[in-house]
Amino acid sequence: MEPIEIDVLQKEIDHLANKDVYIHLETTNGAYASHFNKDAYNVGAFIRNARVQYERGKIVGAGTTYRVGLKLDIGWIYAEGVNQFELNQEGRLLMAGHDREGRLMVALQISEKPFQY
């Protein structure tokens, strides 16, 4: 993945608007958060292969932290903290935010084909 270039990424988000797409959305602080720090809580959520259409998608932010919002017919998809992106070989748009140790904290991925599994 590469650091986000907002203009490039915005074009890719636009390209996927108004068509059936599959979403992978995830955030996590790991299954061991409260094991290594008893004052911490384990939190996480993911949804894989939600099929939606968004009428407008937008990336906002600067430097090391960006937010992405996808406006749906009757709702929203939102991710905060993404800082890297990649259009992979299968044409899937991957966005993610990693911490200093390279651990994934948040991911938002959009694809015209369902994700594997």
Partner: protein, 218 residues
């Protein structure tokens, strides 16, 4: 009974951190070891450091790391095809039956798995519970011994000390090599240890030099 050890853990690298020293000791005695690995760790958050994996490439990367680790350990690998983080939502009975389908052919003398309720990660707890249920399907006289691994902070005060404590420092080179085979996962861990010591293998040995298990009471 002919000796054969079956290791049942959900994630590629559970075997490396948890039991690779014990596995090496069995293999040195010529005892066959089979690893039933539940998932490919698809939802792991370690992506290498610096990152070289994505959520979408991680499964294949971890699969190759797992295959390499099992070559190093010289164990037979079976990948069971569950998805990381979802094991606790499967039917325990179905997973137990799936595990038993392997066990009834292998007829193991010993099964190594996680201690349900004391294994921290929900996949560990769920797969350990299913593994024990699978072992229970044997008639008592044919049933393998089960060593259950507890890693919760409270396990010693709640369960007492583990009865099996394997000092694996004599085979630690192999254990370290197995851990390093899981590069995407080991990078983060190694960075942590590196901050505290120049000799990573020595520091890791202090941390992971003993592998402990509780003999399961059926």
């Amino acid at each position: 009974m002919k000796e054969h050890v079956v290791v049942i853990y959900p994630h590629p690298d559970d075997e490396a951190f948890g039991a690779s020293g014990t596995i090496t000791t069995f293999r040195e005695k010529g005892i066959p070891v089979t690893y039933l690995c539940g998932t490919l760790g698809e939802m792991g958050r370690n992506m290498g450091n610096p990152t070289f994996a994505t959520r979408e490439t991680l499964p294949e990367i971890r699969k190759q790391e797992l295959i390499r680790a099992c070559e190093i350990l010289d164990v037979d690998l079976k990948m069971l095809g569950y998805r990381d983080k979802t094991l606790e939502f499967e039917s325990t009975e179905e997973v137990a039956e799936h595990l038993y389908s392997y066990l009834k052919d292998i007829k193991p003398s010993l099964v190594i798995t996680h201690y349900p309720g004391h294994a921290v990660h929900p996949d560990h707890d769920a797969f350990g519970a299913a593994a024990i249920k699978a072992a229970e399907k044997f008639k008592e006289e044919d049933r393998p011994t089960v060593w259950a691994q507890a890693i919760s902070r409270t396990h010693e005060e709640e369960l007492g000390g583990p009865d099996i404590q394997n000092d694996v420092t004599p085979v630690f080179k192999k254990k370290f090599e197995t851990i390093m085979a899981h590069k995407s996962q080991a990078d983060g861990m190694i960075a942590k240890v590196k901050n505290e010591s120049d000799d990573i293998e020595e520091a890791t040995k202090t941390w992971l030099g003993v592998e402990s298990f509780y003999t399961w009471q059926f």
